[in-house]
């Protein structure tokens, strides 16, 4: 699997192309796309509204009811507090995962023996369900921030390690030789050749891990926390305030979509604009 990835990476380096500067996405096309997206949202809300007409509101609340619930939790500060707490926990767990995963991935990729020795650990870590980590976390940390952070960490870290590890194996030996001929010091070889090669792998791992972290943090908060969006979700469900359950869910979806489309995607496009297959901005 690694070998194949490396082959692909090398091959794409050697691609020779005569096309100069790829055409940017035209403004017209982009407007069309926005229109399509809006239409899609309208259709989903329409179906939701229609379905809610024939259901009791504690089973399926309609869009208006959910909007009211959303305004209520936004007005009394509940929304921002809990969203903030959850976001903070995800961020801390994620940053720890990146700080541990990055160097570990590099070491495992660069050192063949270490790589072979630890190879079985990653799939094992990946197969352990987040719910199990959550239960362990409650045993070890009780009802606290550390519980959620730990679960996020244990979920995100193997994903980042796997990707960085894979990235380290794709470093092109020809570039190392080039640096060698230029008498470039080892430290600079790390920052100027290893790092840029690994970065796309780290980034895709981090993106995946971040998405997982969100989902997993809710599970952890549901069973091991007395604050945060996950806790609020469970509370609302226990009290059969289905409109609030919907409101929290909606908030999360919007938040994830904003982070994904507003930060991650543009960042990726900018960082990896040198790659042929990424659309320009």
């Amino acid at each position: 699997m690694y070998r194949r990835d490396r082959f692909v990476a090398q091959e794409s380096n050697e691609l020779i192309d005569d096309t100069l500067l790829a055409q940017p996405l035209s403004r017209r096309l982009r407007l069309d796309l926005i229109g399509e997206r809006l239409a899609l949202v309208a259709v989903v809300i329409g179906i939701w509204w229609f379905a809610s007409l024939s259901m009791p509101h504690y089973i399926l609340p309609g869009p208006v009811r959910v909007w009211d619930a959303l305004q209520l939790i936004a007005a009394n500060g509940d929304l921002w507090n809990n969203l903030g707490i959850t976001l903070w926990r995800v961020a801390v767990g994620f940053v720890f995962a990146a700080l541990v995963g990055m160097p570990f991935g590099i070491v495992l990729g660069a050192n063949k023996r270490a790589g072979e020795f630890f190879e079985p650990v990653i799939p094992v870590l990946n197969t352990v369900s987040s719910a199990i980590w959550a239960i362990f976390a409650i045993i070890w940390f009780g009802i606290s921030n550390a519980t959620t952070i730990f679960v996020v960490f244990m979920t995100a870290m193997p994903l980042i390690i796997t990707n960085v590890w894979q990235g380290t194996r794709t470093v092109n030996p020809d570039f190392i030789e080039l640096a060698h001929v230029l008498r470039m010091p080892r430290r600079k070889v790390m920052t100027k050749i290893y790092l840029p090669t690994i970065l796309p792998y780290f980034f895709s791992g981090a993106r995946l891990a971040f998405g997982f972290s969100w989902r997993v943090s809710l599970v952890a908060e549901t069973i091991g926390s007395s604050s945060g969006v996950g806790y609020r979700l469970r509370q609302a469900a226990d009290l059969i305030k289905t409109d609030q359950v919907f409101a929290w869910t909606l908030t999360l979806v919007i938040m994830m979509a904003t982070i994904e489309m507003g930060i991650m995607k543009p960042l990726e496009n900018y960082l990896f604009r040198w790659k042929k297959d990424v659309e320009p901005q």
Partner: protein, 264 residues
């Protein structure tokens, strides 16, 4: 150029201007499983300063190995390498020796100008100065308007020009090239030959290039060293005297080519 020079351990022997490169008694073997392969055996070669020398020979004659030994990235088992009158081990100005590979080896995540700058980043030159020199080198390679293009946006010939600019940006005294244009199509290749000669006229460095193409050797070189196959030795050094630019369809050039072909 003297191919049967005796092995000597002194690089600076009171000559007025020492040769750019002097190889005496170079031998190199590689271990391959249980047996060793002798790639180079007693190679002697002197490259005068500011000359263009072509290394030609059958594949497996150790041309690239010899180039790597000159560039100091490989150590010979025996023999002495002198660079600009200093023993290779004591020579400390390696940044004035440039190496151009068979492929362009542009870093795909860097723009053309940043790729050229890469050659200067081993040292400690200020960023603005690096950028200024890199732009100059790109302009020298006639690619000034493509400085912000990424490698994937450039054609094979343009990428070769960027690689050439990267080799020249350090203002090398010696330029080593390992079949530098062999992956280009015939037309682009001949453009790159003109390009190289134009830069050579301007900068007057010593050039050593490896090729398997007799026409390329005759077109560019002042001297062509023909290597025999395994173990590689210099079989003969042919002086190519006609002034450049040369036309390989001329009978004089054709006879050079025939002579070289017979030697390989």
């Amino acid at each position: 150029m003297n191919q049967s020079e005796p092995t000597e351990q002194v690089c600076n022997d009171a000559e007025q201007t020492p040769p750019a490169i002097r190889l005496s008694g170079i031998s190199k073997s590689f271990a391959n499983g249980n047996h060793t392969i002798e790639v180079l055996k007693n190679v002697n070669l002197t490259v005068p300063s500011q000359a263009i020398v072509g290394l030609i020979g059958a594949s497996g004659s150790g041309k690239s190995t010899l180039l790597n030994i000159i560039s100091g990235i490989l150590k010979p088992d025996r023999g002495q390498v002198c660079i600009c009158g200093a023993a290779s081990e004591e020579f400390n100005d390696w940044r004035s020796v440039s190496y151009m590979f068979q492929d362009d080896r542009l870093l795909p995540w860097r723009t053309a100008i940043r790729n050229v700058e890469f050659a200067l980043e081993a040292g400690s030159i200020a960023k603005t100065e690096r950028a200024r020199r890199a732009l100059q080198a790109l302009q020298l390679a006639e690619l000034g308007s493509f400085e912000e293009a990424f490698p994937y946006q450039l054609s094979g010939g343009m990428r070769s020009r960027v690689a050439l600019a990267r080799s020249l940006v350090t203002e090398p005294r010696i330029l080593l090239m390992d079949e530098p244009f062999s992956r280009l199509d015939a037309q682009t290749r001949s453009l790159m030959h003109e390009e190289l000669l134009r830069v050579y006229q301007l900068k007057r460095m010593t050039v050593v290039f490896v090729t398997h193409d007799v026409a390329e050797a005759v077109l560019l070189a002042d001297q062509v060293a023909v290597m025999s196959a395994r173990p590689g030795t210099i079989r003969e050094v042919v002086e190519v005297t006609p002034p450049r630019p040369r036309d390989i369809t001329q009978p004089e050039m054709t006879s050079y080519m025939q002579r070289l072909r017979a030697l390989i």
